[in-house]
């Protein structure tokens, strides 16, 4: 990829306890929002901190616009990072927080003021200049933190689980706002999260990580539709796993079609029928394990615990 904004080449960073990441290769295009997804300890934050300059790496290279940045300290890198929490300096007002980096860059005072006002308007928080971080909610603080980073017009914006400390509703809202700002400004973003739903909703591409290595990289739909490994299949969305003749068969619940009686690809009995709002989740006992599917509320009336069920799979994966 010639026009890669950010490129990570064969990067390895191992901690003394053996954790870390090995042989990482990532390429991010300009204006792309890429997510590093995985459970805690998978190495996603290690990569992000390496890009930001907070971790030195043992081998490989990190390039922005084709130039290596690994020998630069964080303050010299054209990146900006937003942490999980405590981003804002508690002893400085919002204005001072936002002005700090601009001052360091010797932006003239009138311009500083103007840019801060504009930025606050963009994130729909005008007039909070004089407030201190402690006087704002967690969501507002993170919004200011992102705004503070954006003010510095970074080449790459790094976000380390910025919404994980917020409650579900605000998290949803913040995601949408972030996506909007990102597309409006066309900035390159590397986003770290352990929340697959967040990754799917937000990203142009998702990188699923497992124990320090990249398991799969692709658009959310690609990852969902064609998980390359059992690990990815399990981690992304819901999946039924069946052990048949030494092979693992994986079927998403929505790919299971059911009818009463026997003679399907697989036969079983109704185990539970659970109403979940506008759809019903039904599980079935089979010789190879429990299978979950979703049916309409109307269809669910026909099924009762212990009824024989025949299943057909419209799509399946084998591992």
């Amino acid at each position: 990829m010639a026009n890669a904004k950010l490129e990570i080449v064969n990067m390895t960073k191992l901690y003394s306890n053996g954790d870390g990441v090995k042989n990482i290769n990532i390429s991010v295009e300009e204006g792309e929002l890429i997510t590093l997804l995985g459970p805690s300890g998978c190495g996603k934050t290690t990569i992000l901190r390496a890009i930001g300059g907070f971790n030195d790496i043992q081998s490989g290279d990190i390039l922005i616009d084709g130039k290596s940045i690994i020998n630069m300290p964080p303050e010299k890198r054209p990146t900006a990072m937003v942490f999980q929490s405590y981003n804002l300096w508690p002893h400085m007002s919002v204005f001072d927080n936002m002005e700090f980096g601009l001052k360091l860059r010797k932006v003239p005072k009138p311009e500083r003021k103007q840019r801060i006002t504009e930025m606050l308007e963009m994130i729909k928080m005008p007039g909070v200049e004089k407030k201190y971080p402690g006087q704002m909610s967690g969501g507002q603080q993170q919004r200011i933190a992102i705004a503070r980073s954006l003010l510095l017009r970074p080449q790459v914006l790094l976000l380390d689980e910025p919404f994980s400390a917020l409650d579900a509703k605000i998290r949803q809202q913040m995601r949408e706002e972030l996506r909007k700002i990102q597309t409006d400004l066309n900035i390159t973003v590397v986003f770290v999260t352990h929340d697959q739903e967040e990754a799917m909703a937000l990203s142009d591409r998702v990188i699923v990580m497992n124990k320090g290595t990249i398991e799969q990289c692709g658009a959310p739909s690609e990852i969902y539709d064609r998980p390359v490994s059992r690990y990815v299949a399990d981690f992304i969305g819901e999946m039924n796993f069946l052990q048949i003749n030494g092979k693992t068969l994986a079927v998403r619940p929505e790919h299971v079609r059911v009818r009463k009686g026997t003679g399907g690809e697989l036969d079983g009995y109704v185990r539970t029928v659970m109403m979940l709002g506008h759809y019903v989740e039904m599980t079935m006992d089979t010789d190879y394990g429990i299978i979950k599917t979703f049916i309409s509320e109307e269809a669910s009336r026909e099924y009762h615990k212990g009824d024989p069920v025949a299943m057909d799979f419209s799509k399946q994966f084998e591992y």
Partner: protein, 289 residues
């Protein structure tokens, strides 16, 4: 109504529980303080009111030398102890090296060595015929350090050195606690926007820890302005710390002068107590709701 009554009851109960402590405090703290203050204004022979004890302290050449010496030694102790402690605490907070780990687990140790033991140990090592001197005697005669005499005891240097031994661990403990409450992401986000180490210290770490540093400083000041054991054992006979001077007046039965010296020490301590209370009570702008 019932609620109110039970509130009263429990308030009474609490007062009842506190009363003995209060009475004891009155008896063994407040009463002697008042007594001392009164005594400091009394003539030793007639018991009449006089300012002579204080005017002696502020006009007598020796007494003034002791006062200035006490202030000088204490202030120097505070400045040096806080400077060392701050550097040490910063190192402990931001270094992941093994040495830092070892220091982290050992730095409080000097606090657990009794004052007397530590001062005598210091004496054995530092005195002009102590360990350092003995070691220097092993050098070939004529070499510049042969028969090296540290010259650290029986003057301000020795007292300050011993004070540092006791106070650095204590101040480091307080400042370390303050620094550990500064989240790494605060420092890293400052680094991220482009601040260098010095700027991070002056713009982030210092403002966020200054009140605890002030508290550490007031504690160091208070415990050193009235110190006795260390200057008594390794201080000179002139000038001397007020604690030793007080004891000397007391043993020559100049109780009124001794009372005036205690009041003076008390005054110095209260100044730093005021600083302490002020720093504690002052609501920082960023902590206001």
């Amino acid at each position: 109504m019932v609620n109110n009554k039970s509130k009263w009851k429990s308030a009474l109960l609490i007062a009842g529980f506190l009363a003995p402590a209060l009475i004891v405090a009155l008896g063994i703290v407040i009463y002697p303080i008042i007594n001392t203050i009164i005594k400091s204004f009394q003539d030793s022979k007639t018991g009449a009111f006089t300012l002579a004890n204080y005017s002696y302290l502020f006009t007598n050449k020796l007494a003034r030398a002791h006062i200035w010496y006490t202030i000088w030694v204490t202030v120097l102790t505070v400045v040096l102890a806080i400077a060392f402690s701050y550097l040490l605490a910063l190192y402990l907070r931001f270094s992941n090296s093994k040495i830092a780990g070892v220091i982290r687990s050992l730095y409080l140790l000097p606090r657990f060595v009794p004052v007397l033991v530590a001062v005598y140990a210091l004496k054995m090592v530092l005195s002009d015929s102590g360990l350092i001197n003995r070691l220097s005697l092993l050098l070939p005669e004529g070499s510049p350090l042969y028969n090296f005499k540290p010259g650290l005891l029986y003057n301000a240097k020795g007292i300050i050195l011993a004070n540092l031994w006791f106070n650095i661990p204590f101040a480091t403990m307080i400042i370390s606690a303050a620094l550990s409450s500064i989240s790494s992401s605060i420092v890293e986000s400052a680094q991220d926007v482009g601040a260098g180490k010095l700027r991070i210290f002056f713009k982030m770490i210092l403002p966020l820890s200054i009140s605890d540093v002030m508290i550490a400083a007031t504690f160091v000041f208070m415990s050193n302005v009235s110190s006795f054991t260390t200057p008594y054992l390794i201080g000179a006979n002139h000038p001397m710390m007020l604690g030793v001077y007080l004891r000397k007046q007391f043993s020559s039965r100049k109780y009124e002068l001794a009372a005036a010296i205690s009041c003076l020490i008390f005054l110095f301590s209260s100044i730093s107590a005021i600083v302490y209370i002020y720093t504690n009570l002052k609501e920082k702008a960023w902590e206001r709701d």
